[in-house]
Amino acid sequence: MLAELINPYYLQVLSFILINIILGVSIYITLSTGQLSLGHAGFMGIGAYASAILTLDYHMPLVVGIVVGAILAGIVGLCIGIPTLRLQGVYLAIATLGFGEVIRVLFINLEGLTKGAVGISSIPHIGRELVKGLQDFGFKASMIGLKNNQLISLSVFLLLLIITLLIIAFFIRQTNSRVGRAFAAIKMDERAAEAMGVNITYYKVLAFAQGAMVAGFAGALFAHVTAYISPADFSYHRAVEILIFAIFGGSEVIWGPIFGAAFLTAMPEILREVNEYRYMIYGVLLVVMMAFRPQGLIDTQMIYKLKQRRKKKGVS
C-alpha cells in the first residue's frame, strides 16, 4: 500500500522543489536589506563544486563537504559583499552579475579541478549514502515493504524536508527579531535606518553573506541529489530563476519566495507543455509582475490581514 504510493520520480520533483525553496530563501535574505544580487547562481555553484570535489577527490564525508561548501560560499559572499557595499541598487546587481559570470568561466577553465565544461559526474548521492548508513545499522528497505530505490528517494526527500523547515524556521525567527527589523529598516530607508542607530554596513554584509551561504548550501545539496554538475547549471539562467522565485512569490515576507519556488518548480511538472516554454514564461512573468505587482503575489499587507483575521477569530 505504502510501497505503491511512493513514486521515486515524484519524490525527486519534491526534492527539487525543496532545494529551490532554499534558493528562494537565499535571495530573500539578500533582498530583505534591499540588495539585488544576480550572483546567487555563482554562490550556489561554489557550494556545489566545493562539496563535490571534497567528497569525490578528497573522500571527505558528505556532511563535511556540504558544510564546507556552504561556508566557502559564505566567505566568498563576505569578500564580495564588503567591497560592493558602496554600490547602490542597479550597480550592485551588475557587479554581482559580473561575479557570477567570472565564477562560471572559472568552472569551465580550471579543468584540473572542475573537469571543465563537461562537468563532474558520479558525485556521492545523499540518498544512497543515507541508505548505506541505515543498512550498517541493520535496517533494510524491505523491512518497511519498500524497494531500495524507493527508500533512497524517500530518505532524500525527508532529509531535505527537515533541512528546509529548519532553514525557514531559522529565518522566520531572525526576521521577527532585532536583526530582522534592522534588515527591514535598511530596505525601506537606508538613511533613516542609520540615523536611528542601525549599523548599515554590518547588517548589509551580514545579509549578503547569509544569502551567499544559504545559496552555497543549496548548491551543495543539489550536487549530492543530482550526482552530476556542470558549469551550465550555474549560469545567468539560474540566477534569473532564483530571482524570479522572489519576484513572483514576493520578497517582502519569507512566504513569498517559498511559494514562488514551489509553484514555479511544480508548474512544468503539472503542465507538461509548459516546460518547453518555461524561460519564456519566466521572462513574461518578470515584466508583468513589475508592471502590475512589483512586490510579488504575497506581500506584507496580505500576511497582516491574515494575522488580523486569525486574531479576531481567537477573540470570538
Binding site: V179, R191, A195, M196, G197, V198, N199, I200, Y304
Partner: protein, 257 residues
C-alpha cells in the same frame, strides 16, 4: 555644554552652504535654529549627525568629537534626529517603527534571536513595553498596529519624534516638527516638546512657526545664507534689526513671486 558646534563650514561644489557657524547648547535647553529657506539649517543637522562631513570645523557632544563618526555611532553617542521630509519606515507598523529606534540600545544578535534565549525574550518584552510607553507619550498608542504609511501627516511627525526618543537621546534634533500641522496639533506639539524637556533631554529645533519658536526656545541662532546673523534669547532676537531685515527681505521676495 551638551553640544558645541565649532566653526562649521560646508561647501558643495561651488556652493557655500555654511560659513564658520559656531554655537553652544547647554544641558536641558531648547535651542532654536532658524532662518529663511536655504539658510543651511538642515545642512547643519546633517553635519551634526555625521550624515556628511563638514568642510571645516568640528562638532563636540558632551566632550566627545562627533565629526568623523558614522551616523549610527552618533546615535549611539546620544544624538538622534527627525527629518524635515518625514522618513518613517512606511511598511512597518507604528509600534515596529519605534522598536527600530531602540536598535542601538539593545543587543540581541542572530544566534540569540534564532534560539530565543531567555535574555532575548526578556529584551523583546522590554523593547515592546518601552515602545508602548513612548507611543503613549506622543499619543499614538491606539494606532500601534497601523502601518506608518497610513497615518495622518501630524501623526507621522509625532511618530518620528517617538522613534527618535526610543534611542534614549540626550540631544534631540527636530527638523521642522510643526510643518503642515494645524493649530491644535501645533499646540499638542508644544506640550510634547515641553514634556521632552522635562525628561531632561536637550532639544535643538529647526522651525518656521515663529510664535512656537519664540514661546518654546530658551535661546536661538539665526542663519541667513549659511552665516550666523544673530544669537540670543527670543527677546533679543525679536528686536535684532538684521534678523528683521532678513525676514522682511524674504517676505518682499515672496510678494514679488
Amino acid at each position: 555644554m551638551v553640544l558645541e558646534v565649532r566653526g562649521i563650514t560646508k561647501r558643495f561644489g561651488g556652493i557655500q552652504a555654511l560659513t564658520d557657524v559656531t554655537f553652544q547648547v547647554g544641558k536641558g535647553e531648547v535651542f532654536g535654529l532658524i532662518g529663511p529657506n536655504g539658510a543651511g539649517k538642515t545642512t547643519m543637522f546633517n553635519i551634526i549627525t555625521s550624515m556628511f562631513p563638514p568642510t571645516m570645523g568640528e562638532v563636540i557632544f558632551m566632550g566627545k568629537k562627533l565629526t568623523g563618526l558614522k551616523p549610527h555611532e552618533v546615535t549611539e553617542a546620544g544624538v538622534c534626529r527627525t527629518f524635515q521630509n518625514i522618513r518613517l519606515f512606511p511598511e512597518m507598523t507604528v509600534l515596529e517603527n519605534v522598536t527600530v529606534g531602540q536598535h542601538c540600545r539593545t543587543k540581541s544578535g542572530v544566534w540569540s534571536s534564532v534560539f530565543r534565549t531567555g535574555a532575548q525574550k526578556q529584551e523583546e518584552k522590554s523593547i515592546r513595553e518601552k515602545a508602548l510607553e513612548l507611543l503613549r507619550l506622543v499619543g499614538l498608542e491606539e494606532l500601534q498596529d497601523t502601518f506608518a504609511d497610513n497615518l495622518a501627516y501630524g501623526q507621522q511627525r509625532r511618530l518620528e519624534i517617538a522613534r527618535a526618543l526610543a534611542s534614549d537621546p540626550k540631544l534631540l534634533l527636530l527638523d521642522e516638527p510643526a510643518a503642515g500641522m494645524n493649530e491644535s496639533e501645533t499646540k499638542d506639539l508644544f506640550d510634547l516638546i515641553q514634556n521632552i524637556k522635562k525628561l531632561g533631554i536637550t532639544v535643538l529645533l529647526i522651525e518656521h512657526d515663529m510664535p512656537l519658536v519664540m514661546r518654546i526656545c530658551d535661546r536661538l541662532i539665526v542663519l541667513n545664507f549659511g552665516k550666523e546673523i544673530a544669537q540670543g534669547t527670543p527677546e533679543e532676537i525679536k528686536n535684532n534689526p538684521e534678523v528683521i531685515e532678513a525676514y522682511l527681505g524674504r517676505e518682499e521676495e515672496e510678494d514679488l513671486a
